[in-house]
Assembly symmetry: C2
Homo-oligomer: 333 residues x 2
């Protein structure tokens, strides 16, 4: 591969001159600039990123770590982040932890090794604490998106999971439901805890007793809901509505209900967080608490770049509201 050395030789000048042309720094006569430019073009010169970042001590690369590349919530978030990064002159390198703390750990190791300028991360869960502390140890700026991690003080962009949760449950109660099941993600994830809190609080406010048989904890990824639905349906008083903590849980629930020929919402109302992406859905019918996924990414990225470039000040938190969108999956009892 051709280096500035090669092109310096051909241009009969020093590597410094070439470097200056490349970076548009210092003062150079128009004549030599032209000459060097031409030769660079002719020889197809491409700067070596490794060499440059070695001396510059910065890479202009930001790492985006999400937990599930197949979830439209995160791909939309990624889009927001990508657009913002590009606007601000950074390249994005994205990786997918698969909701797996170990995999996340490996990626953080790579990220550290590559000395990226910053990390935008949707942590796999509370156990991400360890990796995040490692980032702190090395003073690598990072911003938490979507999920927070107890013990970590940092910039973050979160949804208002509790409020969204309350809105959904409240909506069901107003429709006359009192037997509302709640299928949650792992309690090791902050959003799951907040959503549960919203659920419990709303029941309480409406004097509806909490029924432990109605509450389940699973994962946010794709899974088989049959066992849970089995249990719910075999209860003496099965629920009339299900609040699923996210879109993928909802999918599993719907699939399970359909396989039993149960109709939504006639036989069971369903509400959840996050859309199944407007793009994929032919006929949106889910009642949801919609979160502004794109803005999660966009704002998170801006905060991160602020942090990278700016003077370090207090960690900032941005809480983005979710919006209740009532559609056909929920109905009066």
């Amino acid at each position: 591969m051709v280096s500035i050395y090669d092109i310096a030789k051909r241009a009969q000048c020093s590597t410094m001159t070439v470097s200056r042309v490349i970076n548009n720094t210092g003062r150079i006569s128009e004549k030599t600039r032209q000459r060097v430019r031409a030769i660079m073009e002719e020889m197809n010169y491409v700067p070596n990123h490794a060499a440059r970042s070695l001396v510059l001590q910065q890479t202009k690369i930001i790492s985006l770590l999400i937990t599930d590349i197949t979830n439209p919530f995160y791909t939309t978030l990624a889009r927001g982040a990508e657009d913002a990064a590009q606007r601000l002159g950074y390249r994005l390198m994205f990786s997918n932890s698969d909701e797996d703390v170990k995999k996340e750990h490996e990626y953080i190791e790579t990220v550290l090794s590559m000395r990226v300028d910053g990390v935008l991360i949707a942590p796999a869960g509370d156990q991400s604490l360890e990796h995040l502390q490692k980032l702190q140890l090395y003073n690598i700026p990072f911003v938490l998106v979507d999920r927070e991690v107890p013990g970590i003080e940092s910039d973050r962009v979160l949804g208002d999971s509790k409020e969204g949760s309350k809105a959904l449950v409240d909506h069901l109660i107003k429709l006359g439901h009192r037997r509302i099941a709640f299928i949650n993600g792992s309690p090791g994830i902050s959003t799951a805890r907040m959503r549960e809190a919203g659920y419990l609080e709303t029941l309480k406010l409406n004097d509806i007793p909490v029924n432990p048989d109605y509450m389940f904890e699973t994962g946010y990824s794709q899974f088989d809901a049959d066992p849970i639905i089995d249990k719910l349906l075999s209860l003496e008083e099965p629920p009339t509505a299900i609040f699923a903590a996210n879109n993928f849980i909802t999918l599993a629930v719907i699939r399970s209900l359909r396989s039993r020929e149960l109709r939504i919402p006639d036989d069971m109302s369903i509400v959840c967080f996050d859309d199944l992406d407007p793009g994929y859905i032919v006929d949106p019918f889910l009642t949801i608490a919609a979160q502004p996924a794109y803005d999660f990414g966009r704002i998170g990225m801006q905060m991160l770049i602020d942090r990278i470039q700016g003077t370090a000040n207090e960690p900032r938190s941005v809480i983005l509201p979710s919006k209740l969108i009532v559609r056909r999956s929920s109905t009066e009892i």
Copy 2:
């Protein structure tokens, strides 16, 4: 950040010894190995990727370039690629060209600059020729997935678009349809050309005249199908079935039909390529030519790494068959 220099000082040895410990090369006394290890641990040493790849002239990074991160076909492909890469000891850096040749060009520039070991790319279109030639110029191994580019000889993993197309159209004809519209992607993309060829050939085989009014070219990304549906429906003999070249075109078509209260398949049969991802779809109802997206990524990545590590031989082509899955979106006329 701590370097091997720092830990050499602390360990009272040369940087070479430290390097040997890190890489498990050369012969080192167990005693010093232990000592160095401990100090590395204690000082939280993380190797500097840039420095290492500068001297090694390899990065162990592979770039994956897809055209639409929101399309489940590509995210599934990405998963396949990621899994294979990880298994073989490479890191993936993925980027999204947005079906935009200019954006793709920028990414290729970055990829070149980063001296990645190889590139797995679903090219935006025939115009990607220029970038790909640049990769060839620099001897950067790459594998084309999903789409080929005229003028480029290289390893590639493609679907059998023509056969899949024939199967879909044949299926419609067997159901009694003779007025079959075809809404295609851009003719600047190889898969679109093959799909059109399959469409035309199957009509011909069945003595059905080609009606230019039934044929449209749009893009593979999300768009508004209303104008096309308008035209089709205002024809004297509107089609009874639509063959949409990919999943996103189908979505647009379905949305447009629904807004007119037209039912599928009663008022219009629909078939297309690629699933709308099993994960997102509550109730799969599309008749499709399903392509093994995961394998596109997995096999492509394996070929790429073969190429990176192995001796260079003839470019290989892998053609993956698609499978006709008949569901409810198509019915007898």
